[in-house]
Structure formats: structure tokens, C-alpha cells
């Protein structure tokens, strides 16, 4: 926990905000991290996207119906 991550709005990464660490693009791990959660909705969405890409269409996401 601790390396400063930043979220930038941008068109890269399929429309998802790009996350950088010390100015460099950050590859979001599928397992996520506390730092990503601390980033808020941007980090949360980026993590879920990474998770989805890794696991395919059956990735667990909360069912909010």
C-alpha cells in the first residue's frame, strides 16, 4: 500500500480513465489493491475491468437488481 496512483480522464484504455503511477501508465492487477479502492470509482471500475478481461465474461460482479 502506498505508491501514489493517479487517475486521469482520457480516451485511452477503452474509454476508462487511465491510471498512472509517478506519471507512468499503471497496469491494473486483476486482483486489485487497496490503492485502487482508495482511488474511488475510477479505481473500482478499472479493477473490475481488469478482472473481467482476465477472467472472461463470467467474472463475478455484484448483482444489483
Amino acid at each position: 500500500m502506498g505508491r501514489e496512483r493517479q487517475a486521469k480522464k482520457g480516451e485511452a484504455n477503452g474509454g476508462m480513465p487511465q491510471i498512472t503511477v509517478e506519471g507512468k501508465p499503471y497496469e491494473v492487477p486483476a486482483d486489485g489493491s487497496l490503492s485502487l479502492l482508495a482511488l474511488g470509482h475510477v479505481g473500482l471500475m478499472a479493477w473490475r475491468e481488469a478482472r473481467r478481461r482476465k477472467a472472461g465474461p463470467r467474472t463475478h460482479t455484484p448483482r444489483s437488481r
Binding site: 500500500m1 489493491s33 487497496l34 479502492l37 482511488l39 474511488g40 463475478h60 444489483s64
Partner: protein, 879 residues
């Protein structure tokens, strides 16, 4: 940042439940909370005094409204459902007053609120509101997780916010390992710690996601975000925080010792993101509602009663505020939860309400502006009304029992059990108890007593109710009633033990186990003995309890209180030194020390401690009173007046402070009009009475006057304990309790509508709560002295003495003091009756007296009991 936002102040209010500087400062020193560190260095910090009871839904509502719980209406963790058939977690439906977001809404400002406790159902404000029912998951992740109705305003954003929640089942080792590195060693079939951790982390993440979503896309003037995570982390894991306490197994300590640190680092990361999104031009205020003891002050064991976890809470939360116009690298003193909303309003350039219980913290501003006040925000027309109707549908079944289960697991409420019909009255009664505690904290003693009397009557087995009632009685000088309640509880507890019934978790198995009275009752007994003037007996009890390892050094404060009551100031100082070495942040400890040093003449020392006390807890009215007394003795009358004024603002009923302030204005500060106004207030505030007081120097005819009043038909307050004798053949008409008026002024309550004898030296101790009609017996000093001497001789105490000049001077001085006291107190009417006139023309004097007390007395009967034969010790020698 938009141009609009650049011109107007924006304030982000972040709540971290139970954050405590004692935990945070060491972490900052280690560089583990860099974002908070930057706020601290660039802003103002302070302690934030909490309220009693320190229960979060009540506290966070006080933060948001600037008012105490008995004003705002949120008084517990749970509440009955609208149909009265069950209970549910507390909602905002019963909040009776406006919150800061309602006030700002009325002035056209845009507010957003995320997760405030309580904030369900979401209010239709000019902005986004996400309620505290938003983030919690109660079912496994593979099951549907619908967003509760009313969790989001505007409703059109429901679907977007629903996706921002984080389910605990989503979390991975990457989220858990920073908290519990060796999490694989945890046997999750036996202990649910990892599930608990996951839940807390997920909840925080959901709130953070919602808050950042709003900050990213919405215009805003004010935003309030509440995180309950640290409170859960602290309650669950502070016991493992280093250094290891002897009763914590080493294996558990090694597993969980890093949880609290990791929790704070996680919160710091989230803070950093919120600061980034808010922008440098925003004012950010970070607060907590109470502290959390990370050290020896945390009890080893919690009592078995609802809301017992609050005993782990510390009395001071945190305050950290940074932004344009806020002082940098500054420490503010005397701040409390009630000050947040008044301060926010002031920062927005809006008035605070006079009906708010807090104050504006001007000291945080680089250039303080004058404070604007309006009577109240409640009468302004609202643009939008609350829509609580759909809250009626929040039945427990719809919410799922998990909502309440968590509160039960945390120990905040008793298990409502399978029978909802039992849960409702229990909830109501528990909430009334919290309301009573809030009344006590706010100085509304009669209201507190009324609630506690009812509760004690309904549930005499609940020691908490009786204990609080007895303490409330003692605060108002009703010692006899306190004694009665304590005796009842002690007897009931002993009978419970002998009867073999289980109570309070102790087995009363009747198997011959020796009865051991609970420490709580013994402490209370000591308090009553102290109030009764039996200090030695009280000390004896406390000294025995000192050996209890759970009470230990905490008792030093109680011991000091007893010693103070006995006037043993220096011994009290020693006890307080031991206590303050244990708890240096105790406001009551510093207050008590200040009083002791005041009494021993160390005025500078007294000032230091009293300032410390009010700096820790500004709302201690008596600390301000004693501060004023100290400044008075030092001759700093302006400072004394300021302190009396603060005391009166906090405790408007403290007439004694009002009297002192009036004397200062008149005698030292040349403000006679204000002095007169205060004295009129003293009279106006005397709601009780009238009490007819017969007074004068001893042997001035007070007994004969009491006899005459009784003969005339007035009831007298006397106990007959002192029968007539040669000095007073017809009796003394005294009440023993009046001799202890100095210690127990509450006894006067029993004398309302009656006549009571109070000798002149004790008149100043009459509580300024009643109107008094004083019949002052006047007699030539020489006759008084002669009569006193003769009485002493009759008692066999010595030979006839010559007049003692010193004694005469003392009596003259007493007469002057009495006249001055009467002159200073407009609630006291006086009729002087010359003893000689009474003896020579009893009927005329009886008419005067009857007219003075309302004209209802039998004047003839009064005159008949006056026996001139008993006019002895005459100066003219005709006796």
C-alpha cells in the same frame, strides 16, 4: 474548477468515526499518513469534545445540526417501525430539526451527502444524497443485492450508484494481506475476523466510490462524507494494536497487530484522493465524533449491557481543517461536536442559530469576521420538505435481519430476539435512557430525573437506570432521594443473589456463594455518603475498591472528589496528581485540580489547570465558574466577568454565577445597568417557592417566631429532634438537615410553602432557585450576647463570662454581611421584626408578619403564643 466554484467557498466535511489523535500522531510521525500530515501542517487542528452518551447516530446528527440530541430527536441505534410492530436501524425520520445541508439548500447552495449516520431515507436536497443504507451487503455475493428503496436521491441515479458498491466477496488477498499478512493462518471456521475485515473494507470502498463519483462530475458548494470504518476496525482490533496487553494471546497478537495501522493508512489513501478531487481552493474539514482509547484507558472488559462498546470510546475526537483563510500550523482549543455546524455556516458567510448549542470556532480563521446570528433556522420556509413517508415501509423483514444483527454483534444493542413485540418496548426504553443521559450532559437535570424515575420504576433491575437516577439526584442536592434509590438497589441486588436468579450475567445460584456487591453500587454508595457529609466512610469504601485491578488508578479521581468535599485540599492534590499521571487529558481531572489549587491559594496553578480543563472541554460550565473565581481573586475583573458570562451561557440556570457577575459589574467594572439587569434575571429565574425563612442571629427570637407562625396556621419545616429546654421551653422548631445547607442546599425543596429556620450565617447558601420571604429577627446585640452566654451557662459549659469584644464585632459583621446579601438578591424579600416589639406588642407584629406572608394567618393565635415572661436577658435588667 469552474469559475463559479472559484468565487465561492467550497467545503468538504469528512467524518472518520472514532478517529483519535493518540493513534494518529504516532503513525504520522512514522510517515504512514502523509496526506493527513499535509493537512495538519497546512491547517488548524484540535481536539473535538464529544457528547454523552457517545453513541454515533446521536453524535453525527449533533454534528450536522449543531444541537443536542434532545433537540434533534435522534436518540438511539434503533427505532420502532412506523407500524410499531418491530424495530429497525435508526433512520432520519425522527430528526426534528434541519441539518446543515437543509440550511445551505435554503440559501441556494448545492450540497451532497454520502453515508451520513443516519441519513436514510435520502432527503430531496439540491444535490445528491446517498444514505447510510447504501453500501452494506447482507447476502452472499452470488445473490441479488438490490439497492434499498430511498437510498439515493435523486432516484434517477440509483442504477449508477448501485454499481459503485463493493461486495465483500469481491475482495481478494491483495486487499486483506495489508491488514493481516499471515491471513492464511486464520481458521475462518472458528473466527470470523477475515469476514469482518472484508466487510469493513468493502463498506469504505463503496462510500469512497460514491463520494469520488460525485466530486468528479457534480458542481458543489458543500459535501459531507462519512466513513464508519475506523470505528469497526478499532472495536474489533485495537486490542491487538502494539504494545501487546498481557491478556492477549501472543499468536493472536502476531496475526492482527497490524490491522489498526493498515486501517489508518487506507483511510489516509482515501483522504488523499478526496483532497485531490476537492482541489486546493476548497476548505476541507476532517472530524471524528469521539476518540478511541488505544492505551491503558481502554477497559479490559466491557460490562454486559447494551451499547457497552461506548466504554472504549475516548472523550475527544479529532478536528483538522485546511483551506483559504484558515490558520496554518495552528492548534485550536475548546472545540466540540456542537461547534461544527455553526462554524460551517460562518465559513459560508451565513448566520448561526442562537438556538444551536455550539459556537462558531472563530479561532480557526486567519482574519476572524464578526459572528452573525439569527434566532433559528427552523422558521425559515423550506424549499423542499423531507419525504419520510416511504420510510414507513422500512420494515425489518424488508431490510433483512442482518442490519440489526451487525449492531447486536458489535454490542450496541441487545438481541431483539425472535419476538418483535418484546423488541419494541425494549428499544423505546433504551432510547429513553440515552435521552436521559443526553439531558444530563446538557444540564437539563429535571428532565433527566423525570425520565430516569420512570425508567427505574419500570425496570428496577437495571442498575444503569438506578445508578444514573441516583447521580442525577445528587447533582441537584436531593441526597435523601439518592440514598433511597441506592438502598433499594443494594437490597434488590442482594435479594437477587440470594434468590438464585440470573441477573446481569452473574450467577446467583443460591449455592452459598458469598455475596459480593457490584463495584458500581459500592461506588454509588460512596457518592451518597460523601453527599451526606460522611466523607470518612466514603473514603473507606473507595480505599477498599482501590485494590480492584479493573478500577485502579481511575479511582484516584473519586478519592480526590471525596477529599475535596472534606476540604482536604492537599491530599486531594496528591490523588489528582496520580490520576492525571494516568490520564493527562482528563478535563474533569484538571478542573478538580484547579479547584484544589484555588482553595490552597496557588492561584497561578489554578489558572493553568482550569484553562487546561476548558481547553479540553469547553462545555464545562463549572470550570468557567471557577476560572472566574480565580481571576476575581487575582483582581483581573474583566477576565473574571468574561468567564462568568461563558458559564452563564453554558448553564443559564446557574444563578450564583449571575449574582457574582452582577456584583462585578456593579463594584468593579462600572456597568450598573447590566448589573441591575442580571439581578432582575436572578429574580425571574427563581421559579420555586415561596419559602418563608425565619432568620437572625442565634437567640434573637427565631424560635418564638417559628412558634407564632405555626400557631397562625403556617406549616413549619422542623423535625422536632431538638426538644424544648430551659433556654427554649416551647421548643426550637429546627430541622437538622438545615445545618448541612452548605453541602445539601437541595433540602430547601422540601420547605416550599412552609416556614423554615435558617440562622443568618447560612442564608447565603440558600439556593437561588426559589423566592424567599425572610422574616429577620432583630435584637440588640448586647441582649443577644447576654442570652447566648446564659444559654451556654445553663448547658453547664462554663462560668458566666464577661462580654467578649471580639465576639460582638463578629456578630456586628454578620449583621452587615446579611444586609449586604439581602441587598444583592432581588428574589429575597425581607421583613425585619424587632424582638422587643414582638414581646411588647405581639398582635401588631403578628399583623405585620401575616401581611408579609400573604395575609392568611390567624393573627390572634399568633399573638397568644408570644409569652413576655420568656423575654429574658433584657438590657434594662427587668427580666
Amino acid at each position: 474548477m469552474t469559475q463559479r466554484a472559484a468565487k465561492r467557498r467550497r467545503i468538504l466535511l469528512i467524518g472518520w468515526d472514532s478517529a483519535d489523535w493518540k493513534t494518529i500522531h504516532p503513525l504520522m510521525d512514522q510517515g504512514l499518513m502523509p496526506n493527513l500530515q499535509r493537512m495538519v501542517e497546512g491547517g488548524t487542528i484540535g481536539r473535538l469534545a464529544t457528547l454523552v452518551p457517545p453513541l454515533s447516530p446521536m453524535l453525527w446528527t449533533s454534528v450536522a445540526t449543531g444541537k443536542r440530541p434532545y433537540k434533534h430527536g435522534i436518540i438511539g441505534f434503533t427505532e420502532p417501525t412506523a407500524d410499531g410492530g418491530s424495530v429497525r436501524p435508526v433512520t432520519n425520520v425522527h430528526r426534528r430539526v434541519k441539518a446543515i445541508w437543509n440550511m445551505l439548500d435554503q440559501r441556494g447552495l448545492r450540497s451532497h451527502v454520502v453515508g451520513w449516520w443516519p441519513s436514510h431515507p435520502a432527503e430531496p436536497i439540491n444535490g445528491v444524497m446517498v444514505s447510510n443504507f447504501f453500501q452494506r451487503a447482507h447476502q452472499p455475493g452470488h445473490l441479488p443485492w438490490p439497492l434499498p428503496e430511498g437510498a439515493v436521491h435523486p432516484p434517477g441515479l440509483r442504477d449508477e450508484f448501485a454499481k459503485l458498491r463493493v461486495h465483500p466477496d469481491e475482495l481478494t488477498a491483495a486487499h486483506i494481506a495489508p491488514f493481516v499478512p499471515d491471513f492464511t493462518k486464520v481458521d475462518q471456521t472458528k473466527v470470523p475476523t477475515l469476514a469482518t475485515l472484508s466487510r469493513i473494507i468493502a463498506d469504505c470502498a463503496g462510500i469512497q466510490a460514491a463520494a469520488t463519483f460525485i466530486l468528479d462530475r457534480e458542481e458543489w458548494d458543500f459535501m459531507a462524507v462519512y466513513f464508519d470504518g475506523l470505528d469497526h476496525f478499532n472495536h474489533g482490533f485495537m486490542k491487538y494494536h502494539p504494545p501487546r496487553r498481557p491478556f492477549i494471546p501472543e499468536s493472536d497478537f502476531q496475526l492482527y497487530k497490524g490491522v489498526v495501522t493498515a486501517a489508518h493508512r487506507f483511510h489516509d489513501l482515501m483522504l488523499g484522493r478526496l483532497l485531490e478531487l476537492a482541489g486546493e481552493e476548497a476548505t476541507v474539514m476532517l472530524i471524528s465524533d469521539h476518540g478511541f482509547h488505544p492505551d491503558r484507558l481502554r477497559p479490559e472488559r466491557l460490562p454486559r449491557e447494551p451499547a457497552a462498546p461506548m466504554f472504549e470510546h475516548g472523550p475527544y475526537g479529532i478536528l483538522c481543517v485546511k483551506g483559504p483563510g484558515i490558520r496554518k500550523d495552528h492548534l485550536v482549543h475548546g472545540a466540540g461536536l456542537l461547534d461544527i455546524t455553526p462554524t460551517l455556516l460562518h465559513l459560508f458567510g451565513l448566520p448561526a442559530g442562537r438556538d444551536m448549542d455550539g459556537k462558531v470556532l472563530q479561532d480557526i480563521q486567519e482574519e476572524p469576521r464578526p459572528i452573525e446570528l439569527i434566532d433559528t433556522w427552523e422558521e425559515e420556509a423550506t424549499k423542499r420538505e423531507l419525504q419520510p413517508s416511504h420510510a414507513g415501509g422500512l420494515h425489518m423483514a424488508a431490510m433483512g435481519p442482518e442490519w440489526l444483527a451487525q449492531l447486536v454483534d458489535l454490542g450496541y444493542i441487545d438481541d431483539p430476539g425472535g419476538d418483535p413485540s418484546q423488541a419494541v418496548p425494549k428499544t423505546i426504553r433504551e432510547n429513553r435512557y440515552y435521552l436521559a443521559l443526553a439531558y444530563l450532559d446538557g444540564g437539563k437535570i429535571p428532565e433527566a430525573v423525570a425520565e430516569l424515575e420512570a425508567l427505574h420504576g419500570e425496570a428496577p433491575g437495571q442498575l444503569r437506570y438506578g445508578t444514573s437516577l441516583a447521580r442525577a439526584y445528587l447533582r441537584t442536592g436531593r441526597t435523601q432521594e439518592a440514598r433511597r434509590v441506592v438502598d433499594e438497589m443494594r437490597e434488590a441486588d442482594r435479594l437477587r443473589h440470594e434468590g438464585g436468579r440470573q441477573e446481569n450475567g452473574r450467577d446467583g445460584n443460591g449455592s452459598g456463594t458469598p455475596y459480593s456487591e457490584p463495584a458500581r453500587l459500592r461506588l454509588l454508595q460512596a457518592r451518597v455518603l460523601q453527599a451526606d457529609g460522611a466523607g470518612e466512610q466514603a473514603l473507606a469504601i473507595l480505599k477498599k475498591l482501590e485494590k480492584d485491578p479493573l478500577l485502579g488508578t481511575r479511582l484516584q479521581f473519586r478519592i480526590a472528589e471525596v477529599l475535596i468535599g472534606m476540604g482536604r485540599w492537599r491530599q486531594a492534590v496528591q490523588a489528582l496528581e496520580r490520576f492525571l499521571a494516568f490520564d493527562a487529558d482528563s478535563a474533569k481531572g484538571h478542573h478538580a485540580m484547579g479547584v484544589c489549587l484555588l482553595k490552597t491559594g496557588d492561584l497561578r496553578g489554578a489558572l493553568q489547570h482550569l484553562h487546561e480543563a476548558v481547553g479540553l472541554n469547553f462545555n464545562m460550565s463549572m470550570a468557567h465558574y471557577h476560572l472566574a473565581e480565580t481571576y476575581n481573586l487575582l483582581g483581573d475583573y474583566a477576565a473574571a466577568a468574561e468567564a462568568y458570562a461563558v458559564c452563564l451561557h453554558l448553564s443559564p440556570g446557574l444563578n450564583r454565577a449571575r449574582q457574582r457577575l452582577a456584583a462585578l459589574y456593579k463594584e468593579h467594572l462600572d456597568r450598573p445597568d447590566e448589573a441591575q439587569a442580571l439581578l432582575r434575571q436572578v429574580a425571574d429565574r427563581c421559579q420555586g417557592g415561596p419559602v418563608t425563612v425565619v432568620s437572625g442571629l442565634p437567640r434573637s427570637g427565631t424560635s418564638v417566631m417559628m412558634q407564632a407562625l405555626q400557631a397562625g396556621g403556617m406549616e413549619v419545616f422542623a423535625d422536632g429532634a431538638r426538644p424544648g429546654d430551659e433556654s427554649n421551653p416551647k421548643g426550637y422548631f429546627e430541622h437538622k438537615a438545615i445545618k448541612a445547607l452548605m453541602h445539601d442546599p437541595g433540602i430547601i425543596a422540601q420547605a416550599q410553602g412552609k416556614a423554615v429556620k435558617v440562622v443568618a450565617p447560612l442564608l447565603p447558601y440558600l439556593p437561588p432557585l426559589y423566592r424567599y420571604r425572610v422574616i429577620m429577627m432583630v435584637r440588640d446585640i448586647r441582649e443577644v450576647l447576654r442570652s447566648q452566654n446564659e444559654m451556654i451557662e445553663r448547658g453547664g459549659k462554663g462560668v458566666k463570662r464577661a462580654f467578649r469584644t471580639g465576639l460582638r464585632d463578629a456578630l456586628d459583621a454578620q449583621v452587615e454581611r446579611t444586609d449586604r446579601w439581602i441587598g444583592r438578591n432581588p428574589h429575597v424579600q425581607v421583613l425585619k421584626v424587632d424582638f422587643k416589639d414582638l414581646m411588647n406588642d405581639p398582635e401588631r407584629e403578628a399583623r405585620r408578619v401575616s401581611s408579609f406572608v400573604g395575609g392568611q394567618l390567624d393573627v390572634t393565635a399568633m399573638a397568644e403564643v408570644v409569652d413576655p415572661q420568656l423575654y429574658r436577658s433584657r438590657l434594662d435588667g427587668t427580666d
